[in-house]
Amino acid sequence: MIELKSINKYYQSEAQSFHALKHISLKVERGESVAIIGSSGSGKSTMMNIIGCLDLPSTGEYWLNGENVAGFNERQLADTRNHTIGFVFQNFHLLPRMNILENVVLPLAYQRIPTKQRKEQAVECLVRVGLQDKLNMYPNQLSGGQRQRVAVARALVAKPKLILADEPTGNLDSNTTEDIMQLFEQLHSEGHTLLIITHEKEIADRCARAIRLQDGELVEDRLNSTVIPKVIACA
């Protein structure tokens, strides 16, 4: 599903150039759950942004579902983010002026789907994360755990194949972390491909595969024996 071929990423800032990703090559099959670990500043988010089509690599190739993303224009990149990828961020990134339902509907609003169906799909996802009674509330009326569940619902609503989560539990306490992780595990068991950036070892241990970045280099790639890898042969 994902193939990175010798990716380099440089950040240009005031005459200096920062080499954030160094010759990263990586293959992730459909249905895998991968934890990305590494110390702060090691390039985890940079890599995820490239995988999520939010940013382009400086050199190297990124193939997503058999297509070279480098050849995509703005419109195709946006379409890919909309249809193929669901994002969950550390600080939720909900839109403050919209209520919960509207937040979850938003990705569908960028597609040609009748309004009624959008709403049905969004409610379905909110039921799934247990927030069916909060539809008309606003993000600032919810707790951190609830907000992240909204974000998960929003990531799911367009039925993407790939879920990318950048430290999704970084701002949550251990109880709510458990809630969110159970949600992710459920998604994985349903066949979603999952990439989770995390600091926490317990979380990394719940993924079938873990890769470690260090100073922009991929230094470790291991399978976790306690978790049964769930690779769907071909779908």
């Binding site: 909309n82 994002f87 960028y110």
Partner: protein, 404 residues
């Protein structure tokens, strides 16, 4: 694709959230539109009134007055009509009523401690026929009053009011230039023209006027006359122009030193004035729209910066650049059209206020002016919203998301 309703809802939410700021932003536009609506509706009421007035005057009245070209005015050469001009007009066949008029004084008219600054006219008994305006009380000045230089006066109804006679004014005395005049008549009400009272005047006999103005100089008079047959108006004008040029010894090529005007031409003069006002107005609209537009552009740029992160989120969720562009464009248009609407309301209110205090009746904004205000406001929103919206839509998703 976001439905238009959703875009509107989003834009409305942010406009409402920044209520005060939005109003201040649109202030340039509000004031500009309000000014335009006010002036247009006042001018419109004005010209309706004037047109009606001139129509009621009839087109058969003519005025001959002295005319000094600007060049000569600067040189201090003032032209005047000659007494013999009057005789020339009298000799023209087809001329019905004719009367000379001049202003013998600009002083106040006094009575019992009350004062009126109504204009004093010195004229003859034909004045009432030329102007089709007759006394409702008492009588008009007559030939004998004129010959004997009687100190009698006919007043307009507003002048009567100003002088506060408590009972019948006929037979009472008023003071003009230290002379006592007996009130012999009150003229029929004429109403207002150009928003000004047409009933504030005092009419005295021509020769009496000369005596109080002093005989040492010829009065600066003008001549009012009417023609019997309207169809003869143009030939009479041509003939008179020729005769008076001869009388004034003007050589070929020299400019007329007099003006021969019909009521219709006076209306044309007014129309050309109102055209001038319209041009000034267009300039005003232009400036206010630019000022208003820059205000809106400024606030939209601020708004884009404030919402950088939101834009990043929307892009991460798959918003196309056109989605973002449209969203901010609609917001700018919403802002400018709301401003335009407030301006229209304010303008209508100001129009009513002018009506209340000036006495010009039926001040209403013409529909075209209201529609045009909205069209212009919306255009301003699109034109000046384009740069901020383009800026928003071209933001890089990651940089937008990282924005603090």
């Amino acid at each position: 694709m976001l439905s238009l309703y959703e875009i509107f809802r989003l834009s409305w939410l942010s406009t409402r959230k920044n209520g005060m700021r939005s109003v201040l932003t649109a202030l340039g536009l509000i004031i500009g539109v309000a000014a335009v609506i006010t002036v247009v509706s006042v001018m419109d009421a004005f010209s309706n009134r004037i047109t009606a007035k001139f129509e009621s005057l009839g087109n058969n009245g003519l005025t001959l007055s002295a005319y000094t070209p600007l060049k000569h005015q600067i040189q201090g050469r003032l032209t005047a009509l000659k007494a013999s001009d009057l005789d020339i007009i009298k000799r023209v066949s087809g001329v019905r009523h004719i009367t000379p008029v001049f202003f013998p004084t600009n002083g106040a008219i006094k009575s019992n401690g009350y004062e009126s600054f109504s204009q004093v006219y010195a004229t003859t008994e034909y004045y009432q026929d030329v102007n089709q305006n007759y006394p409702t009380q008492g009588r008009f000045i007559n030939r004998t009053d004129n010959l004997k230089r009687r100190k009698v006066v006919v007043l307009g109804v507003d002048t009567v009011d100003e002088l506060k006679f408590h009972d019948d004014p006929i037979g009472r005395y008023v003071q003009i230039e230290d002379e006592w005049f007996k009130v012999i008549g009150v003229q029929q009400r004429k109403g207002k023209l150009f928003g000004l009272s047409q009933d504030s005047f005092a009419i005295i006999p021509y020769e009496t006027g000369r005596s109080i103005a002093g005989y040492h100089k010829e009065p600066q008079f003008f001549v009012q006359f009417s023609v019997a047959d309207l169809n003869q108006l143009e030939p009479i004008k041509r003939h008179l122009t020729r005769e008076i040029r001869k009388n004034h010894q003007l050589s070929k090529g020299q400019q007329n030193d007099f003006k021969l005007e019909t009521a219709e031409q006076m209306m044309e003069t007014f129309n050309s004035i109102s055209e001038g006002v319209t041009f000034v107005l267009i300039g005003m609209v232009g400036i206010s729209l630019v000022v208003g537009g820059v205000g809106i552009m400024n606030i939209m740029l601020v708004s884009v910066t404030e919402r950088t992160r939101e834009i990043g989120i929307q892009k991460a969720l798959g918003a196309q650049p056109t989605n973002i562009l449209l969203q901010f464009l609609v917001e700018a248009v919403l802002l400018s059209v709301t401003g335009g609407a407030l301006g229209v309301i304010l303008g209508l209110g100001l129009g009513q206020l002018v009506e209340l205090f000036s006495g010009i009746e039926n001040i209403e904004a013409p529909t075209w002016a209201v529609l045009l205000s909205f069209v212009f406001s919306a255009t301003v929103g699109v034109v000046f919203g384009l740069i901020p919206a383009a800026k928003a839509s071209s933001l890089h998703p990651i940089e937008a998301l990282r924005f603090e």
